[in-house]
Symmetry: D2
Subunit: 343 residues, 4 copies
């Protein structure tokens, strides 16, 4: 196989991180998040998001982050509202429901959730015979590669406040979102608009690790109990701390995201030029070109990707994901191969 | 502080593992356990345990392993039997109960569970007004540093079979157990006696990672669903694979455990010689000497440890834990300081 | 208020049942389902459904029945498929999710679920990153008053078998379904097509009580544990037994359902004659006529009902429910009042 | 069998209740707790407990009441402290754990929990590696027939307040407790000492029904959601209302409890006189005489009872329970038969 575009975690770890792990390896450190590297990473992240009072915890992956955050926020009869494309809806094996909570699903528009969509759920949940919607789940970048503009996020923030809903943002690909050409949000602005969110390391150069950030004071209590009870309190937590310190030193985190976006943009422009359409207009490192079955079959001999959605009997959209480590040659090769197949 | 004897995860990672992570870092690998290093590690572990048909999965930590394994085995009304000292009973923040299951607690004898103890639970659980005991949880080494002898484990195995109970072994410190001077079990023998168990990496030189091993065919189905649903399916799973391949190459795993045990033995012999008693007779890397409060206070200025149990108004047992990385000088220093304090 | 058409449990209990409760009151009986009346009721019901080997248990209400049955059938990572109108989806306060399970929702057609609808869920759930659909939930009569014809139920039965799915039928209004003019199923036939179902007493003359029937042998084990664990094992269970014996003596159960249907039919024909449309073509005791807001407002002064769905800015469908106890005069009065309002 | 002393729900319903159910049967009533009889019963109960602001809800049984109340009060990582003899500990099939919560068990003294016992749990639960104890569960009368004196309950109340613990009282047999000759508490006093409790109807003359009373304002929110989500919101709730109105009219509730106690007292005095010992000194309607196996075997031919606890190889304590309906002749007969067996 020439290159695997299946996702952004097929590559290893950014070399700086490996070096940092080696450098910091000697010596003893407290465990379970109380090591000096976690403390330092938290200090840095608080500065980056512009909230010195934020509570910050590290966990191993996105599904873990989502399930624990959501369960920590909700009473047993409360629910979370998500776009139909939201990662928690189909792709987390029922992790949220496993914690006892219903997901109220709203048909997504470009991977996004709107105030109208949320209101449509509220309209149907009016007494104790139904669950009580309490939390709104969004992803940025979304699961279809789109991003929330400042105006949109601000509107969601204000709408949620007015309805006594909490707003949570899944930032598995927040790096790519904030480095998108279309983006008009800073990390600090984004942070101000949400009650909680997480900054994804796994898909942006780390070995593992997501930083859960709690801005809303009323949601901070007992979070470490939730982590421990759900098996998410890592013994050698220094691994998290060292990685996030490294990622946010000299903005490596954003440099890596920019590269992933640039590779995706090159890929999509190349595909477009050859004459293909897309399922959605992605602004980040996931793109969804539409090919006929024959082309898909031939491409799949040299490239790894998921067939995302059937368009008609003959055509389907595939998902191509680039990452911090995607080599330009792989992109060039894909475009060149596609051009040959077209002719 | 001269040295922290608080636990076996304050040290970093064994250097060989860091080197292996660096060496294997370039290139793409499938995620979620389907990378070539996990496959290789599974191959090696199957050989080591003498069961080519075992299902093997990697998770991040012991609490995660225990909660997922137990929940995967039990129907909602079934329970797990544990010694009172069992890690799942008090020290996992109710992780097992959080999955909906009761722990039937039996007063432990030297950290261990006996057939009589299990029978006493069965005697009290006789109809549908009580939970139905179904799984037996033991740890080797136990939480008080003792180990199960072959005879004991065989007896538990046969007893469980005769009562239609399943047997699960928490191997967070299985390395130290199998390398103890008192041990008469091989890894393969141990494996044959239990339905499932896990081999702990975190406390024996790894960065993170425990290998869950399912011997009983009837418990294999759907385990990856459990992992995903509980946020335990790591995206960059190669990290697990690389580490376990390295740990079981040239039996590094057992060498590290031997060192931890040797340091503990030296420490306990030294303490004994000075004239102190112990809470229990440990055979592994955790020891529980009894000191008066004044000595404890003075020691705590130079050494890290937990006060484990108050013996009387003046005396308490403390826990000292050694690891693969404990330097002999730290042990010597502790003994020498203790001798001075005694006089 | 002249009459409350809000639902079929605003009325009290059928007098025969009260008499039977009084008659059987003296004397001692075992509790928790082991009384002679429960035994007798089970004997009668097994005969009526044509399955002498069915396991039968009594619970207090429909939400309780649904949540316990569904949780008893599924492993933690398995899900239940339901029509969007299914009672478990919105109107049971997340009871199913509270037991840890996801509901895969299919847009309903006339309140019903089709094989195609089920297949569309299967198509999207293909590996351990998604839940595993295992149970199909249908209601008969449906929540919109329609019923399953023999052909439809048989098709669902065969489809489920072919896909290793289990089929569960919510029979809260099974009496009205089987007594509908459109019905071509017997109770015994219906029972043969499903793995489990329940016969609803509460909405058909009883004080409380639903009979859960388990036909599939593999689902019988441990059900009483589930009942107890969920607080559904009633101490004075004789109440259930006495009621179901009475309901199925001389087919009182079906007589009551016939009356409810007849009243609904009279009501809908009257409304139709005056010139109104309906949201759906109900075959049972729930009808959904469409009125303009002015008429709804005026009717609501004399009659109780729920506004079910807004049709446009001016019109809405309301739900009218009749029961075993609905007096013909109430129906006549409603029609006559509506006629006046129309003019 | 001459008489079944197994428990206090083998008898039917007090005749007054059946008459009231018949009298109130005609006519329509709102469901789910909003009927006029529930409203009236709540009004009466608020007066009886001396708290006009209490929230009061009716449920079907004790296990249901306990599980829902406990789950409604606790965050996922919080636990409930109970005496080892507490009904929730062994006899509710893990219902509390099924809601995700650990029970911290304290060895009971005469069926009761003391401040020292609670403190011993607090001492062991000090950080996020353990659950966080938050609720204290006691029963009055206790499961061994003893009762809490005013001084004891007041001490528990103050202790709990000082430790930020909540206090919940299971009143399955609260009637017998408050009517015991040893009792020095009024219902209103008891109510003032606890955050929540329930008044048990099932074991004191009702068909089914327990009144859950929430005194603590901070625990009131959303309770109806909990009821619905757990299948405990009864459609024809009027049944609860009618029964509790009847039970508290002219203090029938207490008259019935007095009779049960009187029969137990007569029984225990008779047994004592013949020369037998008791497992505990019961003050209410459950007594635990100790007999040798031969006598137990012979008695069991004519009387129903549970063998409660083996005392030695030859002797065991049995449990005899009287009720509002126990006939004096049955008591006389038991004593007389026992006397014959002794000789």
């Amino acid at each position: 196989m020439v290159y695997n575009f299946k996702n952004d975690y097929t590559e290893g770890v950014h070399p700086n991180i490996l070096d940092a792990l080696k450098l910091t390896n000697p010596g003893q450190q407290e465990g379970y998040g109380d090591d000096k590297y976690c403390h330092k990473a938290i200090h840095i992240l608080r500065h980056k998001i512009g909230n010195p009072f934020a509570d910050i915890h590290f966990v191993s992956g996105g599904t873990q982050a989502n399930a624990i955050v959501i369960a920590s926020v909700l009473k047993p009869y409360e629910s979370v509202i998500s776009a139909s494309t939201g990662h928690i809806n189909v792709h987390e094996a029922g992790a949220v429901e496993n914690t006892g909570h219903k997901i109220n699903v709203v048909e997504s528009i470009n991977g996004k959730l709107s105030c109208e969509g949320i209101q449509s759920v509220l309209d149907k949940h009016i007494d104790e015979h139904m669950v009580k919607p309490r939390l709104v789940f969004i992803s940025n970048a979304t699961e279809t590669g789109t991003i929330y503009k400042k105006k949109e996020l601000e509107a969601l923030c204000q709408f949620c406040k007015s309805k006594e809903l909490l707003l949570y943002l899944d930032g598995a690909r927040i790096g790519c979102a904030l480095c998108s050409e279309e983006n008009d949000l800073t990390l600090a602005e984004l942070s101000r608009f949400v009650d909680l969110f997480y900054i994804g390391g796994t898909k942006n150069g780390a070995m593992l690790g997501e930083a859960v950030i709690i801005n809303n004071n009323s949601l901070k209590d007992g979070f470490r109990f939730f982590l421990k009870q759900n098996g998410a309190l890592l013994a050698k937590s220094r691994i998290f701390g060292v990685q996030f310190v490294e990622l946010f030193k000299d903005d490596l985190f954003f440099e890596l995201a920019k590269h992933a976006n640039a590779m995706a943009l090159k890929l999509s422009r190349g595909i477009e030029k050859i004459g293909f359409q897309f399922l959605s207009k992605s602004a980040t490192n996931q793109i969804f070109p539409i090919f006929n079955q024959d082309i898909i079959k031939r491409l799949s001999k040299k490239y790894g990707f998921y067939v995302w959605e059937n368009i008609d009997d003959n055509k389907a959209a595939i998902r191509l994901v680039t990452s911090w480590a995607t080599k330009e040659e792989a992109v060039d090769s894909f475009i060149s191969d596609l051009r040959s197949l077209k002719n």
